[in-house]
């Protein structure tokens, strides 16, 4: 019996040793440096599952197309051309998922840059990226993705590798101004958000800014998961709100827009705090009649009137939209991504060019702070030295569209002013 144990044990050890040897032999020798473009990995932690997944999945055709267009020329530092490879990892829109996604991208996929981030797990991801000296280009707007001076989690000293490439907090504020610009005879602006944000730093700042600007407003809150907005719609109507700006997810916006129409408040305009993800979906859920006149964020840079965009980037985006339409076999309507990932990537690329390096993230961050960058949503200088403790906040056109005959049509625009 003991002899059999010895045979089995020796066999197992031999198999393990042979296996290790085989794996070692299978490792290809390092290939000589190609003379063609070098590929830089940029990671994106994004919601690809869960209830926020539509926001993560729908832009995929455009994203892929945009990188296809971008990589035709790539970007140059000296004589070397670089291309970009986007690596997406599902972060499930959770803190745990975000940290895991960041770790995978940084330590598994060797990403020195994370960009296009919009999910609500800023702190979790920043806690991974900063110690690793990985530049993290994200958006503001989530309750913690705001500076400590606003009771958010961002601290310039402990998070020196964070860039706010999409200042959505400020965009929301300036969208309010754009609404008031579009409807100067408005009675009162209704603001609706989920209780997750109630009392959060973003809302405190927003209310202060609106009050100082003399905007008449009234706010209501709903618990996440609410599907019946009749009581809230009635309250807005009783407060004489003729425009309601909904800062919820798609489902809540659609439910509100549909129910207010059915309750007879057809003159109550409803604005969505983000771009329309899929016009067909809104029409199917809200109803074509109720959806007519709906207002949303708008990023078709060929339509901007107050923000000048480099024609090269307009052409790039239009080409990407065309490719995306060909891939999906139908008109590609979602323009939201124009303002997010491509704009983030162009900030990074131009910073690398200014710094003369694709590896030294300290030098690249130095180029980003206070720098001026030309992107798919215009040319902006990073601001926020005082409010954020570091000039790492990009700008935004804060452009809105209105649905006319089922299509998005430019409505108004209130470009963001630099933050102190």
């Amino acid at each position: 019996m003991k002899k059999w144990y010895n045979v089995v044990a020796i066999s197992m050890v031999a198999v393990i040793v042979l296996g290790i040897f085989a794996i070692a032999c299978a490792q290809k020798p390092a290939e000589p440096q190609a003379t063609g473009p070098i590929t830089i990995n940029i990671g994106e932690p994004v919601a690809l599952s869960g209830s926020a997944a539509p926001w993560g999945q729908i832009p995929t055709p455009f994203r892929e197309a945009w990188f296809e267009v971008f990589n035709k020329e790539g970007f140059k530092i000296g004589d070397q051309t670089y291309n970009i490879k986007l690596i997406q990892v599902d972060d499930q829109n959770t803190a745990e998922g975000g940290a895991a996604a960041a770790k995978q991208l940084i330590f598994g996929d060797n990403c020195k840059f994370l960009a296009g981030h919009w999910t609500w797990n800023f702190s979790a991801i920043a806690s991974v990226t900063n110690p690793a000296k990985v530049i993290f280009v994200t958006r503001t707007g989530a309750p913690d993705a705001l500076p400590a001076s606003w009771n958010g989690a961002y601290d310039a000293k402990t998070m020196p590798y964070v860039v706010f490439g999409t200042p959505s907090q400020d965009e929301f504020t300036y969208n309010c101004f754009a609404l008031v610009d579009a409807f100067p005879n408005y009675k009162k602006l209704g603001l609706l958000d989920s209780t997750v944000s109630k009392g959060g730093p973003g809302w405190v700042v927003l209310q202060d800014v609106l009050n100082k600007a003399g905007v008449r407003w009234h706010s209501e809150w709903f618990t996440p998961g609410t599907t019946d907005f009749a009581p809230i719609i009635t309250r807005f109507a009783e407060e004489d709100c003729d425009i309601v700006f909904v800062a919820g997810w798609i489902g809540e916006y659609m439910a509100f827009a549909k129910q207010r129409w059915e309750m007879g408040y057809k003159d109550m305009k409803v604005a969505c705090s983000g771009p329309f993800v899929s016009l067909g979906m809104y029409k199917a859920v809200v109803g074509a009649d109720a959806f007519e006149g709906a207002i949303g964020a708008y990023y078709d840079n060929s339509q901007f009137k107050k923000t000048e965009v480099n024609p090269k980037y307009i052409a790039q985006c239009q080409e990407a939209l065309t490719i995306a339409a060909e891939k999906t076999g139908k008109p590609y309507e979602y323009t939201g991504e124009i303002a997010w990932l491509p704009s983030h990537v162009l900030i990074l690329v131009q910073a690398m060019q200014k710094a003369g390096t694709v590896d030294d993230t300290d030098a690249i961050m130095k180029a980003i702070r206070g720098g001026t960058f030309d992107t798919t949503i215009g040319k902006w200088t990073m601001s926020g030295a005082e409010t954020y403790g570091s000039p790492v906040v990009f700008g935004t056109p804060a452009c809105l569209c209105v649905i006319q005959d089922g299509k998005e049509v430019y409505l108004s625009e209130h470009p963001m002013e630099p933050l102190p």
Partner: protein, 287 residues
């Protein structure tokens, strides 16, 4: 006093909670279990209606019946291959609870994979509104109320005027005695599970045009119907109806008065009911 539109809205909510709660209580009365995946049958029913209308062109009322049959059948399979096995000697309530909780995530994940995560709409089903004085009510919401009345009448007739109903009531009251009289309690369990899930499915189907259809739409109705049966009394069909009515109207009125605090108030109410009258308004006191 809240405006009329709030009461109408509350009535519509009541109808759905009532229908869901009725199905849950029916299952509880015979199987002795709370089906935590009840909300997911609601969700699956909505998807069946959606695809019956958009893909197969089946008229809405027939689609509702189809969803009841299909999802009711699915419920019977769950009862046969999952619940029945876990209620056998050697197992216990905990196993069934865990299994039905797991089914929540299974059905949601499966629906997400099969149907996608985007909201789907049925706004073209019964479009338009009826203007009634100072408020309007959509024809879709009117359909919800009519549907509920019809379902309640049908259930009353089935349970009180048919042999199947008699068997169900007998098995609910005294399962041992019922089996001695030749009633197959196992078969009754299967039928009741089918009916309960069918009710949930048709509730989801009738609400599909009112809201939107997505894999996560069953969670809130499940929780609210659970609150309804606690208020009304676990095991009481009358309690399920009354509890649903109270909950729907209260939810709407309180939300109008104090906005998002409404759910806090409702849960406090449920706790008070449990403390003062744990059997609910119509439930039998614990022996």
């Amino acid at each position: 006093m809240p405006p009329a539109g709030i009461w109408v809205d509350g009535l519509v909510q009541s109808c759905i909670y009532m229908t869901m709660a009725f199905g849950m209580v029916l299952v509880f009365s015979i199987l002795g279990i709370l089906n935590w995946a009840h909300g997911q049958f609601y969700m699956l029913g909505a998807f069946v209606v959606y695809y019956a209308i958009t893909a197969a062109g089946i008229p809405f009322p027939i689609s509702l019946l189809v969803s009841g049959v299909v999802v009711g059948g699915l419920g019977m399979l769950v009862e046969k291959f999952v619940i029945e096995r876990l209620t056998a000697p050697g197992y216990g309530m905990l196993y069934v609870t865990v299994a039905t909780l797991a089914l929540i995530f299974f059905f949601e994940g499966a629906a997400g994979m099969a149907f996608g995560l985007m909201d789907k709409g049925l706004a073209t089903v019964l479009p338009g509104v009826l203007d009634v004085g100072s408020f309007s009510v959509s024809y879709q919401k009117i359909a919800v109320v009519i549907f509920t009345l019809v379902i309640m009448v049908i259930m009353y007739v089935v349970l009180n005027r048919t042999k199947v109903g008699l068997a169900i009531r007998a098995a609910a009251q005294e399962p041992v005695a019922a089996s001695l009289y030749g009633i197959s309690v196992g078969r009754v369990s299967l039928i009741v599970m089918g009916i309960g899930c069918a009710l949930a499915a048709m509730a989801g189907g009738i609400m599909g045009p009112v809201h939107s259809v997505n894999p996560f739409m069953g969670r809130i109705p499940m929780i609210m119907s659970l609150l309804a049966i606690i208020i009304g009394g676990l095991g009481s069909l009358t309690g399920a109806i009354v509890g649903g009515i109270i909950l729907g109207l209260l939810n709407s009125v309180i939300a109008y008065k104090i906005s998002y605090f409404s759910e806090v108030v409702l849960f406090v109410l449920v706790i008070l009911v449990l403390l003062i009258r744990p059997q609910g308004l119509f439930g039998a006191p614990a022996k």
